[in-house]
Each structure stands twice: as structure tokens, then as C-alpha cells.
């Protein structure tokens, strides 16, 4: 009997350790863990896009937004000419609403937001694990801009999930110590680097919940950069699903 108990206990331990090891190395698990660590499930926020063009021109776009799971809605506050425009991610579909014509249109994931170097997908679909599969992973990768070389990173290669619009491939570096993303590179089908994003800073409040973040997107071809700043983050228990209904955009356009 004792041998049975020892044997069963040993088997359970081995199984647990094995499963833990598999989970730890499960690439999609790393991406999901990183998203969960970085981005709250349900929250409201302000977002500022500060775009600097090659000619030095600076454009600023402000939004306030609400995000719940895969849904995300952003109302434009500035520029004045676009105030009241609404961008919505409703499950896998990106929408824009234009109040001066009462028109809702579905947006392409890679369509550029006017005057910026970010696309609708870049700022609405902020949890990559929802829209991308992990194709490969490497541990103990380094980053060229990590001068001290003290951090080790997971390097994941992502491709869009079946039926989901997106970049042909994304490489993301995730700090192995805290699972926070550090850098992303976005590639076209040809393999050309079309955009990069450095996560310049991430801050958390006393409860360990995200309170702010700065992400710097850079388009090497167009020599244009956009600093995306999240601020005024308020984590909530729930937001009504109706907030993310495409027909409700009209009524939120004036917020």
C-alpha cells in the first residue's frame, strides 16, 4: 500500500513538474502572461499620439478610451477637426464612426490614422495574444539597446490568427524577469521591417496595476515616429457590453 502511495505521489510530482515546465516554455503562454501583466482586462484610459515627421512637424491626437477583454472603444478629443470621431474594436472587427456624416466604416487593421505612424490595429488591438499566434520562441535573447546586457529576453515570432487581419510577422522581446514587453518589430510579407516599437516606460500603482506607459513607434521608411502615451488608467470591475456595440458609436461620439 505504501509503495502505491509513494508511487502515486511520485507520479503526481513528476507530472506537475513536467506540466509546469511545458507551460513555462509554452510560447503562447508567455505572450498571454505578458499581455496580462501589462494590460488590465477592463479599464478606462486616456491616450495621446504625438507624431514627429521627418520635417520636424509635430501633430498631437488625444483620445479617451474604454477597454474590456477584446473590445476597445476610443473617442477622439483632439484635433478639433476630428473631435467626436470614434474608433472601435468589436471582437475582431475595427470600426470608425464619423459624426459629420453619420457614417460607420470598417477599418483595415493596417490603415494609418491620419497624421500619425500608427495604424488602427496598433492602438485598438493592444493585446497581441488575442490576434496573433506564436510561431517560434527563443530564450535568453539580448537586445542591442540594452547596453548593460543584464536582462535576458524571450524573443517571440508572431503571425496573425486565421481570419484575423494584421501584420505578416511581428517579433516581440519580453523581459524574462518580469514578462513585460520591451520591443516589437513589425514586418511586411516581403520581410521588410515596416515599423518598430520601443516600450520606453511602464509604470504601476501601489497595487501593481498599470498606471501609465509610453511606447515609441518608428517607421524607418517614412522617417516618422509616434509616441503613444497611456495615462489616467482606471481599472474597473466591469463595463457594459453595450458600450462596444457598433450602433452605440453614434451616441458616444459627443463624449
Amino acid at each position: 500500500m505504501k509503495i502505491w502511495i509513494k508511487g502515486f505521489t511520485g507520479l503526481a510530482l513528476v507530472t506537475t513538474v513536467f506540466c509546469s515546465a511545458v507551460y513555462a516554455e509554452e510560447p503562447s503562454g508567455i505572450l498571454q502572461k505578458s499581455d496580462k501583466k501589462f494590460i488590465p482586462e477592463i479599464f478606462t484610459y486616456n491616450m495621446t499620439l504625438r507624431t514627429k515627421s521627418a520635417d520636424g512637424k509635430v501633430d498631437v491626437v488625444d483620445y479617451n478610451g474604454k477597454k474590456k477583454h477584446e473590445n476597445n472603444i476610443m473617442v477622439t478629443l483632439n484635433p478639433v477637426s476630428a473631435r467626436g470621431q470614434v474608433n472601435l474594436k468589436n471582437r475582431n472587427v475595427l470600426w470608425s464612426y464619423f459624426p459629420t456624416s453619420d457614417t460607420s466604416v470598417k477599418q483595415s487593421y493596417q490603415a494609418i490614422i491620419l497624421g500619425t505612424s500608427v495604424s488602427y490595429g496598433d492602438i485598438l488591438a493592444i493585446e497581441l495574444s488575442r490576434d496573433y499566434d506564436v510561431q517560434s520562441t527563443a530564450e535568453n535573447s539580448s537586445l542591442s539597446n540594452d547596453a548593460a546586457g543584464t536582462n535576458m529576453y524571450y524573443l517571440l515570432a508572431l503571425t496573425p490568427k486565421k481570419g484575423v487581419d494584421g501584420y505578416a510577422k511581428i517579433f516581440i522581446w519580453i523581459n524574462q524577469a518580469n514578462f513585460l514587453p520591451v520591443r516589437r518589430e513589425y514586418y511586411a510579407l516581403s520581410g521588410l521591417l515596416v515599423k518598430s516599437c520601443e516600450i520606453k516606460s511602464i509604470s504601476f500603482n501601489d497595487k501593481g496595476v498599470l498606471s501609465g506607459a509610453d511606447e515609441l513607434f518608428y517607421e524607418p521608411l517614412k522617417k516618422k515616429e509616434t509616441l503613444v502615451t497611456f495615462s489616467n488608467i482606471i481599472v474597473l470591475n466591469d463595463i457594459r457590453d453595450t458600450t462596444f456595440n457598433p450602433k452605440a458609436m453614434k451616441f458616444f461620439s459627443g463624449e
Partner: protein
């Protein structure tokens, strides 16, 4: 109309007493058009006989003051008042300056229902040019520039169901069909969005008319990482028509009511959107095409009879009859079938530069209109645009019988 404006102000102004968000747009521009004083629609310069002379050039300044305010958690008011000044107008017997309310409405936004009441923009349908299901804004002229558009008085009560569906009840004041409150339609719409599909069905009840009903569906597909395809179609069925058409007996044309027992209109089309991420020379291209059929529309023969009727009134110097007959003709409703095509190029050579060219072909008489347009975004709050409308067709065709052969429009818009 004055009563409607007063009602809008009564609703909107108290709302504004609370916290105000104020902004403004200034839009200035010019229009140039050729003028044929003896075209099919304007024979023997009848308009000039009515005291209307065409100058071929106008210029204007629009200044919008936009006020917005929230009330508590669920209320909101919006008011857009426009002052328009024409230093020079196309035609002589119109006011050179006036105020109007472009939009003025109040919103109530609760977790269970959403209400908008007042004058506001309404639009239905996914059509790029033709939207026969757009029963809430039927009389919008697709050729009118955005700056001329105004909201329509009406009310919309929407009950959203989760994040994928909704039921709406609406009413809207139509300038031709609404003379008193009992003429207001009761329109019900059900909307559904499932993954890449979305669509709606509706039914419209109105006194003195049998119900009209229809629907719209669209589907978006990511063809490749940087190419998306949108397909859509819409249909409306009705059993009454408010229109008249020109018939002819023994060579004498006359107007009479449409007499068919039912009418069907439909539009179907698609657009391809290309996003260019691998070149700094261009951001995107959108190519669209659309087919439109409407059994309520005049045929090419009806249009010719109408021109004969207009010509007869002209020959008889019957100016009142001519003025009364002019509204019977509606743009883009003079053929049973039309085809629309368009291309838009975004960020060509400069991210702030866009151009587009659209065209509509009347299949019955093969006349067509071409509408090229360019715009430059000086900064996020300042834009410049230049557009043209060029009309081609034989003398008795829809686009060949207009008073214009071409029209140009340039404008500068600044928001602050």
C-alpha cells in the same frame, strides 16, 4: 421650418448652460461652373426670365460655432450654428448671408437605451454612392459638397443588445412628405453584427403610404495582410411612390403619378483597400465599384418625355408650370440602372496629400459624370481641397441636359 429651429433651440440651449465645450470651423471657398442657357432642363434661359441670372462664379465663407455640453451622467447637448456669407453668388435672387442650424440635438445615454432627438445627421447603408435604403436621408444630393450638408430633424431611440445587436425606433422629418405631425414615419430597425458580417433590416410605416421594408448586409474579408475586401448589398421594397413621371399621349407630354403596384431598389458593390507599408511613396489605395437598380426611377424614355414636357412649358412661356415641374427631376434617378466606380489614393508622395476620382454612368442613356478631387492636410486642423464635376452626354441625356458642363470647387477649412 422656423418652428423646428425654435424647438431645437428650446431643447439644446438649456442643455448648454452646464459645462460647455466650444469649438469653431471656418470654411471658405469658391465654385466655378459653366452655364448653358439653353440646356434641356433649362430651355430658353427660363430661369433668367424668372429673375435668376447665373454668374458662373461664387465665393463664400461659412463659420460654424459648435457648442457641446454634458448634463450629469446621461445627458448631452450639441449645437452647430452656421453663418454663411456669399460676397458673390451664382444666382441673383438668393440671400447673401444667413444663419442656420446645421445640427442641434439632445442625447440621453443610459446603459439600457440611447436617445437622440433634434436636428442631426442621419445616414443608412454601406453604398459608396447609391444608398436606396437610406430612407432617413433620401434627398441628400451625392454631388453636394460636405460643407453644404445639414442634419435632419428627427428622433432615434436605440436599445443595444450586448455588443453585437440593437433595435432602433426612429422618426424623421422629410421636407416633401411631412406637412404635419401625423405625417411623421415610424421606422423600426434591427441591427446585427457577427464577426466580419453586419447588417440591418427595417420597416417604415407612414400615414397614407403602405409600409416599405428592406435591409443591408456587408462583409469584410482580409484577403492578405495588407489587402482587405468589402462586399455589400442592400434592397428596399415599397408599394407606393410619391414621384410623378412624364407620359405622352398623341405627342403631348404630361405628368402623372407613378402607378406600379410595387417597387424594388437594390445596390450591390465592393471595395478593395490596399495598405502600403513597404514604400514611403503611398499610404493606401481604395478601389470601389457599385451597381444600382431602382424600378421606381424614370427610364431613359421617361426622361426624354420630361424634357419634352419642360420644352412645351417653355414654348408656351408657362413659367409657373416650369417652376412647379422642376422638382420632379431628381439627380441619379433618371435611369433604372447606374454603375459607380471610384479610386482613392491616400498619402501619395506626402502623407498629407490625397486624391480621388469617382464616376457614375447612367446605363439607359450612357451619359456620365466624373468627379475628381484632391486634398492636402496642412495640419490636423487645416485642410485644403479642390474638386471638379464634369458632365458628359448627348443633349437629351441626364448629364447632357444639365445647365453645367463642369463645376469646380475649392475650399480651405480651419478648425480651432
Amino acid at each position: 421650418m422656423i418652428r423646428i429651429h425654435v424647438l431645437i433651440l428650446l431643447i439644446a440651449v438649456p442643455v448648454m448652460v452646464f459645462s460647455l465645450d466650444i469649438r469653431a470651423n471656418v470654411n471658405t471657398g469658391f465654385d466655378v461652373q459653366s452655364f448653358n442657357s439653353n440646356s434641356g432642363l433649362y430651355p430658353q434661359n427660363l430661369l433668367q426670365d424668372a429673375g435668376v441670372t447665373n454668374q458662373g462664379f461664387d465665393c463664400y465663407v461659412n463659420a460654424d460655432i459648435i457648442l457641446k455640453s454634458a448634463i450629469g451622467e446621461i445627458g448631452k447637448g450639441f449645437l452647430d450654428v452656421r453663418y454663411t456669407y456669399y460676397p458673390k453668388t451664382f444666382i441673383t435672387n438668393v440671400p447673401q448671408q444667413y444663419f442656420n442650424i446645421v445640427e442641434g440635438y439632445a442625447d440621453v445615454t443610459t446603459e439600457d437605451f440611447l436617445i437622440r432627438a433634434g436636428k442631426h445627421f442621419m445616414h443608412w447603408g454601406d453604398g459608396a454612392w447609391f444608398n436606396p435604403v437610406d430612407i432617413v436621408d433620401l434627398r441628400k444630393d451625392p454631388l453636394s459638397f460636405t460643407g453644404y450638408n445639414q442634419g435632419k430633424p428627427g428622433a432615434d431611440v436605440t436599445v443595444p443588445i450586448g455588443d453585437f445587436s440593437s433595435i432602433s425606433a426612429l422618426t424623421v422629418v422629410d421636407s416633401m412628405l411631412t406637412t404635419n405631425i401625423t405625417d411623421l414615419p415610424a421606422i423600426f430597425q434591427y441591427f446585427l453584427s457577427i464577426d466580419m458580417f453586419d447588417g440591418f433590416v427595417f420597416v417604415d410605416f407612414q400615414q397614407n403610404y403602405l409600409p416599405q421594408y428592406g435591409g443591408n448586409i456587408d462583409y469584410v474579408l482580409a484577403v492578405r495582410n495588407n489587402i482587405s475586401l468589402k462586399l455589400y448589398s442592400q434592397i428596399i421594397c415599397k408599394e407606393n411612390s410619391y414621384r410623378e413621371f412624364a407620359a405622352e399621349t398623341n405627342g403631348i407630354p404630361y405628368l402623372e403619378n407613378m402607378t406600379n403596384s410595387s417597387y424594388i431598389a437594390c445596390a450591390a458593390g465592393g471595395s478593395l483597400t490596399f495598405s502600403f507599408t513597404e514604400t514611403p511613396l503611398i499610404d493606401g489605395i481604395i478601389i470601389a465599384s457599385e451597381y444600382y437598380y431602382d424600378s421606381e426611377n424614370w427610364s431613359g424614355g421617361d426622361y426624354k418625355n420630361y424634357l419634352s414636357y419642360i420644352g412645351m412649358l417653355s414654348n408656351n412661356n408657362n413659367l409657373p408650370g416650369y417652376i412647379a415641374a422642376l422638382p420632379e427631376e431628381e439627380s441619379f434617378r433618371n435611369s433604372k440602372q447606374y454603375i459607380y466606380s471610384g479610386i482613392t489614393i491616400q498619402g501619395l508622395f506626402d502623407k498629407d496629400f490625397s486624391l480621388a476620382c469617382q464616376g457614375v454612368l447612367n446605363i439607359d442613356d450612357l451619359s456620365f459624370v466624373v468627379y475628381p478631387w484632391v486634398s492636402y492636410q496642412v495640419n490636423l486642423d487645416t485642410s485644403i481641397s479642390l474638386g471638379a464635376q464634369m458632365f458628359y452626354g448627348s443633349a437629351g441625356s441626364e448629364f447632357g441636359s444639365l445647365s453645367q458642363q463642369y463645376a469646380l470647387n475649392g475650399s480651405l477649412t480651419v478648425s480651432f
